[in-house]
């Protein structure tokens, strides 16, 4: 029935499986928003498609929408309200429908399920420009970033999950013949089957900053392994996932399965539904991206489910010694500015020895290094168009408020945050980065997550203390990234050991067009699962293997004589 979909995308799947084994650079979906790749009119058509979504009800034909009640109040961080409304879900109808939809899906072959997933990803890729606009105007990302992170990079992460799911489902054969000599004359021969049994209904809870990138892995890992998926977007970033659900339902229905395998479950800040949703007994898998408080709550309470979380953390940069000061500070400044520090991978704490460091241009004091980073940030923001594209807008009002609070809490202001103007979107919520100098002893200031364009430049006794504090933050508060700049191989080795123990990946001496806050599908493991920033990795086999069980059966094999008579009967 859906084997053609598998065949259509077989080569891509094989390449993806090879990529996860090698973990060298590979990507399935082009990241350049070029007309040559996506079609000459793709950009214009994608923008129009997005515009056509606005100021009306999002149409989705799924159970529990009969009441006609709607919900939704997305406002672009660039200013305008989206005006899109979505059906208010009725869990008592939605969850049973999802459960029912699994009946046919779990009996489908792995090829069928994976074929459907690959076709969904392919169609999502074709909608990358529409998705880019939806992501931009819900998250506040600049357009280029919204296109890449919300489109092809998210699709790559989804494909990576499908590749792991496929690989995992192939590890156990579906059949085996077990033959054991039990005496001189007797041999027992059993036919054994190994059936993939999905866990149950899966819930994916999206975040407001990367609605597709962080949600696709869980959605596709669950779907490929036979589960139904209820998609619960963040109330501030619904549209990108609503479009994704629409595409998934379309493909699933065309392939002859029940579209309720993927459903949309929208709630609001005032009436959150997530607790009720994840505590439903039918829900056996939860994928969550968001703040640590609610992530911890889900881990502690949704005990009937396998829970995969990506929560918050405090990321560090350790500056020990370097060759090219300008190359390093430019690299750091881009990380601090990109999307106004609203990435879970953005560095917050920058540790520098208070006595300064050695550079290719001689010894530099703490203030010289800190000043050079500030200067590099200033340069990025000196061109309004560049500043707008790099900073994007602040997704959440609370993030903007946090900047003021950080200023009040303390630290010497090395670079103050100002409201900035986006020329295309005058109402955009834009604030430049705040940079504060503090001492290593001021842990109450920097040993906490200050999400947004806020960074601390921390003077330490020496690099050893810097490594110790960065590791402590990772172990106790969680961390998803850590950067080190050092020309000393002993320091690098020592940092490698410390950060591995703290479960945080280390990026050393990055300069040029590669940044600590970037995570590449098929090569970089995003979140280690080994510190409080999350209990799972995008992606590894543990991320997929817990979404299904194998239930076996065994029955005596037909005797050779029986087999022969069957053959004669033409069966």
């Amino acid at each position: 029935m859906t084997q053609p979909l598998f065949e259509r995308h077989r080569e891509k799947l094989q390449d993806a499986v090879e990529a996860i084994r090698k973990r060298s650079h590979w990507s399935a979906y082009p990241e350049i928003p070029s007309g040559k790749i996506y079609g000459e009119n793709a950009k214009k058509e994608g923008f129009e498609a997005y515009q056509n979504r606005l100021n009306q009800a999002f149409s989705i034909d799924q159970p529990g929408t009969g009441g006609g009640e709607t919900i939704g109040g997305e406002t672009s961080p660039y200013g305008p309200e989206l005006g899109v409304t979505y059906p208010k879900p009725d869990l008592d109808q939605l969850i049973p429908a999802a459960t029912l939809a699994m009946q046919g899906w779990k009996k489908a072959s792995a090829e069928q399920r994976v074929g459907v997933c690959l076709e969904i990803l392919d169609r999502l890729n074709k909608k990358s420009f529409e998705l880019a606009n939806a992501v931009m105007h819900t998250t506040g990302q600049g357009f280029m970033m919204a296109f890449q992170a919300g489109g092809p990079h998210a699709q790559d992460r989804g494909l990576e999950a499908v590749a792991y799911a496929w690989d995992e489902m192939q590890r156990t054969p579906s059949h085996a013949t077990w033959s054991k000599r039990v005496s001189k004359t007797d041999t027992i021969v059993l036919d054994k089957t190994y059936r993939i049994v999905p866990r149950g209904v899966a819930v994916t809870i999206g975040c407001s900053t990367f609605p597709t990138w962080n949600s696709y892995p869980g959605i596709f890992a669950s779907l490929a392994t036979g589960n139904a998926v209820v998609v619960k977007p963040h109330p501030g970033a619904i549209l990108p996932l609503a479009i994704s659900v629409e595409v998934a339902r379309e493909v699933i229905q065309e392939a002859g399965f029940d579209p309720n395998l993927v459903t949309l479950c929208v709630d609001s800040i005032d009436e959150p539904i997530s607790k009720d949703l994840v505590m439903r007994p039918e829900v056996k898998i939860v994928d969550y991206t968001g703040n640590s408080e609610f992530g911890d709550w889900i881990e502690a309470n949704a005990r009937q489910a396998e829970v995969f979380t990506e929560k918050a953390g405090v990321n560090s940069i350790i500056i020990d010694s370097l060759e090219d000061l300008r190359a390093v500070t430019g690299n750091i400044a881009f990380t601090l500015c990109l999307y106004s520090g609203q990435m879970c991978t953005t560095s917050q704490n920058i540790f520098i020895p208070r006595d300064g460091i050695e550079t290719g241009e001689g010894h530099k004091s703490f203030d010289e290094i800190a000043g050079a980073i500030v200067k590099a940030v200033d340069w990025f923001l000196s061109d309004p168009a560049r500043a707008s594209e790099v900073l994007g807008a602040i997704q959440n009002k609370n993030t903007a408020k946090r900047i003021g609070q950080a200023r009040i809490d303390g630290g010497e202001v090395l670079r103050d945050s100002q409201p900035m103007t986006n020329e295309r979107f005058p109402e955009a919520r834009v604030h430049s980065p705040l940079m504060l100098k503090v001492d290593a002893k001021d842990e109450s200031l920097f040993m906490r997550e200050m999400f947004g364009p806020i960074s601390y430049l921390i003077s330490t006794d020496d690099t050893s203390q810097s490594i110790q504090l960065a590791s402590k933050a990772a172990s106790e508060l969680g961390a998803i990234t850590c950067a080190l700049y050092s020309t000393n191989s002993d320091v690098i080795d020592s940092a490698l050991d410390a950060t591995a123990d703290a479960g945080v990946p280390l990026s050393c001496n990055l300069t040029g067009q590669i940044f600590v806050n970037q995570s590449a599908a098929f090569s970089d493991f995003h979140v280690s699962g080994a510190n409080p920033s999350g209990n799972a990795t995008l992606c590894d086999s543990a991320y997929v293997s817990r979404r299904f069980n194998i239930v076996q059966s065994r029955i005596p094999a037909p005797q050779p004589a029986e087999k022969e008579s069957e053959a004669h009967a033409g069966v």
Copy 2:
């Protein structure tokens, strides 16, 4: 340092890895207790080695034993007290020592760790006769079973876990070169490393009936992936695991690692230590086999750890139709008698339509079928030597008491339980099986675990009800095995679907020398993880992948020019 151990056992590991991929019949350690295989004097020497353990302190040089306090009160279900004492553990010394031992172990290569594990298994195999005696006189198993299940079969399960751990650790390369063209002139090249980071201290809690078989998988899965293991035996079956720990420590020390990677932690029924142990913050992995109540407690409370449980359940046999009544009843009777029904795989509930079934010899009534099973059980017990070997002894006094309680609770006694005499061990605790007839509506009697030689023959409306009740028991109470006898392929298909949904493996139409309560390493998944009988399988990739994390690093690759100059410098 320990590469030689890996090389010594490389072929066995390769065969084991191939076996887990094919899941056809394979075994590494011979199950026949033959002098030709194990050495002409092996049986005698093993018995003597066991005898030499008795009535003295078990010597083990591990931290926290300085106080000199001892513990231990094992009594053989065959009568005599073992008289072995063990050091009373001090967790405040034991756990830090285990943590410290991981320093060198986690930096060892996967080859080194796996080599050590394989050598431990090899030496355990050579001690199979000693272990057989220790298992026999702690569990009450007959000698042959104690040899096989406690020796080679347990070693096979351990090797299976090592094979999965090895396979899993190989899935991600330790290094990758990531090369991305970022502009017409620039290519970024990063050297990436992926480090296996163990979770932390692992605890394995053993059970009283299969101390080695159920513990080896967790011990070896944790050890191979870089963790230290604290082995906490059941107070009634310490010696087999104490000997195993001794062997492990010996090999680890010889290989140049810290022997505290594997430690023994003995407690008593009166002063249980397991709760304190699993709640230690350093403990990051718990493997548990035992009753559901404490298993559920660990799952709910040891939240800092990855918890793998095998708990209890209610296993069923569904009789729908059959060819050869004698072959079927003989097979069932052996399952009911073997080790007095004290296997987690033993069937408890036998569902038979109240109007009887079709057989190769025509229609048979419920009473005829039930009577034939009783008769087959009687035959097994008619020969005292055979009875003693098959029944073994009752491990726990409470199991013996439960027989009386079952009689009081109700049901028509089809076969009463009697105390029996073991000619070699007059004080052995032996009780023949109790078989009760009840109706499908008497759920209060059979919808509960009645561990031991107690079975219910349940009259149902039809096979459809039988399947429904067996599935309900599995879904709600857990089940590890289910058997079906049917000549009807539609019935088989329907049972396959129902039992897969209930997460219980189905064995169809077993006769001859293969039994529903047997689970073969490398082929049968023991416990599905998909119902309340346990949350994990022996073994699959989910069983090993959660015992470590991968923490990566990335650093710009040396430029080609640099590489060249390095080469010229002869580096």
